[in-house]
């Protein structure tokens, strides 16, 4: 069996499963947030009764992160609905807005708080829940109805996916990031190239990546239609997980005779800094090919590109420079935001580097303009702007106005492009 098959078999109480089987699995963690939490709670109460209790308080994690820094009153009401539910259910894992516990973007908050563990099954009401596959677990996004079903029963039906394996040979050259690898793959297989399938990443190129970079790879499997992304568990995974939680877990690995839908092999040295052009994540180009495309804005943030390593990469290029395109900096979580104040690069903190370069820093950690959001959202594209972004999607209207144009790229490429005001290969600065 593949890793994904083994995890699902174990959670279905079976010795084996095969791709295509429909099974009921036991859920280890259910995560929801402010956009889909209220709807999930509504269905939960309607179906299980007004006095119903969640199946396991320890396994429900609620992380408000989408519409936080806005004056939209409906958005505020949704946070209040989460608070009421958490109180009613006495849930221990809630990261409330306006308190010291507030975290920000759920997919980065989950591992920081020790909720991602090898061999487990994680469902979340957000398509980028697949990010957690970086920790060697099965993780995927679901809707409100499925989430409400899990809340009451701890179970969900799953069709066991076939696995597409992607092997990278050779550690990354200094101008490439995991974002380039995943944009390259999506360009190869298309935005529906992995529909109904798992995407497994392996090879020494992948295993040499930091945990944050592995998260970037798994984060965007949904942009290829994938059900889940997964990376084998090694010392990097275990060191991270053990630093965040003392809960026991059981890693899995592929059997020697595991059957894959397909295996694709890449040499990392052959790849270029990669860009997804408007209006689709599979509309691939290289930064060099896009040279000369003028930009109004650069955006660094989100579950895809708003982790500490993403800002360290951007700072390497922005240090001592002035941005020509308006540049927005949005840390994914409060932990990342704090680290921007303390992480030094050649005698300056990252915040100092960004401020001196003329970038705008958000007032707090959240999903912000990655998905547009309410009209007053920090960094939202409200006109026909052209933007280069470290985020994950560029379908029409994703970051706000449907007349805006969004290019997706790595933090290196976004930072280099911010400095010149047009799309630029980061090798010009590194």
């Amino acid at each position: 069996m593949t890793m994904t098959e083994k995890i699902l078999a174990r959670h279905a109480g079976r010795t084996s499963v095969a791709a295509g089987d429909n099974i009921w699995v036991d859920v280890d963690i259910l995560m929801t947030h402010d956009v889909c939490g209220p709807g999930t709670i509504g269905i939960f109460h309607k179906q299980f009764g007004p006095k119903a209790k969640v199946w396991d308080r320890e396994k429900v994690v609620i992380i408000p992160d989408h519409y936080i820094f806005t004056n939209d009153q409906h958005a505020h009401r949704n946070i209040d609905l989460l608070r009421e539910f958490v109180k009613e259910q006495e849930l221990p894992y809630y990261y409330d807005v306006g308190t010291d516990k507030y975290k920000g973007v759920c997919h980065i908050a989950l591992p920081e708080e020790g909720h991602t563990r090898p061999g487990e099954v994680l469902f979340g009401t957000d398509s980028h829940t697949c990010t957690a596959g970086a920790f060697g677990e099965f993780a995927t996004g679901i809707g409100n109805t499925d989430a409400a079903f899990i809340m009451g029963t701890g179970k969900l039906w799953v069709k066991v996916p076939e696995t597409m394996r992607f092997e990278f040979e050779g550690s990354l050259p200094p101008y490439l990031m995991a974002k380039d690898l995943i944009l390259h793959i999506i360009g190869d297989i298309g935005v529906d190239g992995a529909t109904y399938r798992a995407m497994e990443f392996a090879g020494d190129g992948v295993m040499s990546l930091s945990i944050e970079e592995r998260m970037t790879l798994c984060n965007m499997v949904i942009e290829a239609g994938g059900k889940n992304g997964v990376i084998p568990t090694d010392a990097v995974t275990e060191n991270f997980v053990k630093s965040k939680t003392s809960k026991p877990y059981q890693p899995v690995s592929d059997d020697r005779d595991a059957r894959f839908h397909s295996v694709r092999r890449y040499k990392t040295a052959d790849l270029q800094p990669t860009v997804a052009k408007p209006h689709s994540p599979d509309n691939r180009g290289t930064a060099v090919e896009c040279r000369g495309i003028k930009l109004d804005r650069a955006y660094i943030g989100s579950c895809t590109g708003g982790k500490l390593n993403d800002f360290v990469a951007a700072a390497k290029i922005l240090k001592g420079q002035q941005v020509k395109a308006e540049t927005y900096i949005v840390p994914a979580t409060t932990e990342v935001a704090r680290a921007l104040l303390t992480t030094m690069l050649d005698g300056e903190t990252l915040v100092q580097i960004f401020q001196k370069a003329g970038a705008k820093l958000s007032q707090g950690a959240s999903c912000a303009a990655c998905l547009g959001g309410p009209s007053d959202t920090f960094g939202r594209l409200n006109k026909s702007e052209v933007c280069i972004s470290t985020t994950n999607r560029n379908f029409p209207g994703r970051m706000g106005s449907k007349t805006a144009q969004v290019y997706l790229a790595s933090p290196y490429t976004v930072a280099a492009s911010a400095v010149t005001g047009e799309i630029t290969d980061p090798r010009e600065f590194l």
């Binding site: 956009v35 509504g42 029409p396």
Partner: protein, 187 residues
């Protein structure tokens, strides 16, 4: 489950993502309050670029300004319909606007699952590309037991794929009804 779905077609292209089905800024309204949830009908498919709104001509409003019900009952779409986010607001918005079925070449899996498990609408797959065969405004009739789609305006009939594994959930009316019918949940 009814046997026949009849209504006007609204035709869309490939990769219609959930932001085009219901833009993120509208995801703040209640889905359980019947009055407030009408907003989702009002803004259904409002994220489509004008040129893509109702093929082949485009520039065709899906829901009239200020209303929440659409004149179109059946969406005809290309590949990967409903890609993008996991928001269940997407199939819900289409249902609130009056959509009963989608006939697409293929679906993104979370949208498909949400449509089926929430019992919002019927996601059929066509055996061939229909987005250039059918025009927005054509009168269509889906015969569910026969798995056919008839274009009453152009007098043509097409075959639809079987709903396969999910037929039992679709017939029950969603995952809760299915789980109760099969004894997994108490009735």
């Amino acid at each position: 489950m009814q046997d026949v779905i009849k209504g006007k077609a609204y035709v869309l292209g490939h990769n219609i993502d959930t932001d085009q089905i219901i833009p993120a800024k509208h995801l703040v309204y209640s889905l359980s309050d019947p009055e407030e949830s009408k907003k989702y009908g009002t803004y259904a498919l409002s994220g489509l670029p004008d040129a893509a709104a109702g093929l082949p001509t485009g520039n065709t409003k899906f829901v009239p300004e200020g209303e929440y019900r659409s004149a179109y009952r059946i969406l005809v779409a290309g590949k990967n319909f409903g890609c993008g986010s996991s928001r269940e607001h997407a199939p819900a918005a289409l249902q609130i606007a009056g959509v009963e079925a989608v006939v697409a070449e293929s679906y993104a899996r979370i949208f498909y699952r949400n449509a089926v498990d929430g019992g919002f609408l019927l996601p059929f797959e066509a055996e061939e590309s229909l987005i250039t065969e059918i025009q927005t405004g054509d009168e269509l009739e889906i015969n569910i037991p026969a798995s056919t789609l008839q274009n009453l305006t152009r007098h043509k009939t097409y075959h639809l794929r079987s709903l396969g594994d999910v037929l039992v959930i679709v017939k029950a009316g969603g995952i809760f009804a299915y789980a109760r019918a099969t004894g997994m949940l108490k009735a």
